[in-house]
């Protein structure tokens, strides 16, 4: 019954992803296409026949709706088409180059944020209303308020320029070059998760079932670990969906500041160069990533929460 519940839950949610993705692709596609001027307008000197050639090559001479369905068909087969600016590259190739880098930084940042955030939040909850609690939460609020792009230069200035401990930027898959970007990216998420955990942990610690656990004579450590932790991190689990989106967004800035050749860098470059196919491709690709990760988070939540498991199985 347990497995059946999760399975059904998964199937229902999986079907729910389709309209979301369709809306995502549709909005993104038409937004790009209603842009004043075509993608080759910047290159004004193009002779008409070459221009027509280019348009035909990229199917820009077809009616809009036909282009839309052609694009949709392409995406279903996993093809994002060629890049307008990086002439010899397809968008797929650019994604394949950039995404592993971005995913590594993002994944590490997420792991760091989850571990650190829940630990700090639990700690603050256990010391509720003490000086430690207030200072930790004050710092957490700062972590939420201070933008990535302010933290990054300051970190570079402190640890790289003045102290010389770490490289200021660049990318070679070495841990030294990962430290600063991962920390910068994780910081606001750590802070947010810490606040979230503190709040829910305090609530859980006041619940009747925790009182029961204490009345059983279990050591406080076990009460927290076994009885309080899981319910207290449920809000954190549901936050991980939005957190993914925040990390991906943040990576756009981080990669630029630390000169990391990730997907975010390509995206910004594409945006600045009006590389429509690249921008469109990356938006849709990231949309898919976020939607899929949300779906996984959703499953995780259901798996952790016996009540949902049960309801779905009924």
């Amino acid at each position: 019954m347990k497995q059946a519940g999760v399975f059904r839950h998964a199937a229902v949610r999986l079907l729910g992803l389709i309209p979301t993705l369709l809306v995502l692709i549709t909005i993104a596609f038409f937004l790009i296409r209603i842009a004043p001027g075509g993608p080759f307008d910047a290159e004004k000197v193009l002779p008409p026949e070459i221009r027509a050639n280019l348009d035909a090559n990229y199917h820009l001479d077809e009616p809009l709706l036909q282009q839309y369905f052609r694009y949709l068909g392409q995406i279903v087969t996993g093809d994002f088409g060629p890049s307008f600016q990086y002439k010899d590259w397809t968008v797929n190739e650019l994604i394949a180059r950039g995404f592993p880098v971005s995913a590594t930084i993002g994944g590490l940042a997420m792991a760091l944020a989850f571990v650190l955030g829940t630990l700090i939040g639990t700690f603050a909850a256990l010391k509720q209303n003490s000086v430690i609690d207030y200072s930790v939460m004050g710092v957490a609020m700062l972590g939420i308020s201070i933008p990535n792009f302010v933290v990054a230069p300051l970190l570079i200035l402190g640890t790289a320029v003045y102290a010389g401990w770490l490289p200021a930027g660049g990318w070679d898959w070495s841990w030294q070059r990962m430290v600063l970007p991962v920390v910068t990216l994780a910081l606001p998420v750590v802070a947010y998760i810490a606040r979230l955990t503190r709040g829910s942990m305090i609530e859980v610690l006041h619940s009747n079932y925790i009182r029961t656990a204490r009345a059983k004579g279990l050591p406080e450590r076990q009460v927290i670990r076994r009885h309080a932790f899981k319910p207290a991190i449920l809000p954190v689990i549901s936050y991980m969906g939005p957190a993914t989106a925040a990390l991906i967004t943040g990576s756009v800035v981080i990669e630029r500041i630390y000169s990391i050749p990730g997907l975010g860098s390509y995206f910004v470059q594409g945006a600045l160069n009006r590389d429509y196919t690249l921008v469109l491709g990356v938006v849709i690709f990231y949309g898919i990533v976020i939607v899929v990760l949300n779906f996984i988070v959703d499953l995780l939540y259901a798996w952790l929460n016996p009540r949902i498991r049960y309801d779905e199985a009924q």
């Binding site: 790009i32 004050g138 308020s145 933008p147 792009f149 938006v283 990231y286 976020i290």
Partner: protein, 310 residues
């Protein structure tokens, strides 16, 4: 502090002469807001933040008028000069000799303005959407909320960037674009509140009297949403400021000669090794603002909804 006996005696005579009438008219309303206000005043972080923000707003509005420099004036004698009293560039100058203080205050105008206007945009969309969905309920509600769910799953920051790329960068578009993608939370909250308000006696009474739906929503539902909405407005403003500065930092936001804190941080980050002050001051203004707004929002939430605050 006065001795207890004395204040007790005095209290009666000092009392607001209108208080009695007021109390009779609307006991619940008065005490609710008054209670909230008093709880808010007890929250030191929120009060301090409020005062700082007030000072910040005044500085940003009047500062540039009082300072001896124009934001785009280039002081060729003092390029990239550190903060100093003598040159009268208290925050120093950037690489082309522009005064950082006046530029920071000017940038603050844009940042705060964007924060305010874009929040208003999201407020209008979110409140009307949420109120309608919650009020009509049923199928309407389900469809409307499903739409919100779908949009929620989209990487909205990328859509803002997409909008900027497609339509070019201009300030009105920034307002609309940021506001248009930021209304989802507001819609959800308002819908939830409306659902619970809908079944209260005063709304049912109004409906029984034949008041039409539009009037009920406008006169009875929306005023009662005020508390929640205020909290969310306060929490949305820093988010919006952050999004704008994010865009400007990437070079996709406001354009020269206009500036905002994000754009200034971006400029400063380029020169931070030789002239760190160009980074530090705008960054500090931006961070302090976001920090304060978050504390005010938190304080308001706790004050209006004390059960959340254990």
């Amino acid at each position: 502090m006065k001795p207890e006996a004395e204040t007790k005696g005095l209290d009666l005579t000092v009392e607001d002469p209108f208080a009695e009438v007021f109390v009779e008219k609307d006991v619940r309303g008065r005490s609710l807001w008054l209670d909230a206000w008093q709880r808010m005043l007890k929250n030191k972080a929120a009060v301090v933040s409020g005062v700082i923000m007030l000072v910040m707003v005044l500085m940003v509005i009047f500062g540039p008028m009082l300072l001896p420099w124009e934001p785009d004036y280039t002081d060729w004698d003092n390029t990239a000069s550190p903060p100093s009293m003598e040159t009268r560039h208290w925050f120093g100058t950037d690489a082309v000799g522009r005064d950082i203080l006046v530029r920071t205050l000017e940038g603050g105008r844009i940042s705060l303005l964007v924060g305010l206007v874009a929040t208003l945009v999201s407020l209008v969309i979110g409140v009307s959407y949420g109120a309608v969905a919650g009020y009509y309920g049923g199928m309407t509600d389900r469809v409307m909320m499903r739409v919100v769910d779908i949009i929620y799953a989209l990487p909205f920051m990328f859509f803002v960037i997409l909008l900027m790329v497609v339509f070019g960068r201009n300030i009105v578009l920034i307002f609309v674009a940021i506001g248009a993608v930021n209304w989802l939370d507001m819609a959800r909250i308002v819908r939830g509140q409306t659902l619970s308000l809908k079944n209260t006696e005063f709304v049912e009474a109004a409906r029984a009297c034949g008041v039409d739906h539009r009037a009920i929503i406008l006169r009875h539902i929306i005023p009662n949403l005020l508390g929640v909405v205020m909290v969310y407005v306060t929490l949305t403003i820093p988010q919006v400021i952050l999004v704008e500065s994010f865009l400007s930092f990437l070079g996709l936001g406001v354009q020269e000669p206009m500036s905002s804190w994000g754009a200034l941080v971006n400029d400063g980050a380029q020169d931070m090794e030789s002239a760190p002050w160009t980074l530090v001051f705008p960054a500090a203004f931006l961070t302090v603002t976001l920090y304060c707004f978050n504390y005010i929002g938190d304080g308001m939430r706790d004050a209006l909804d004390p059960k959340d605050h254990l």
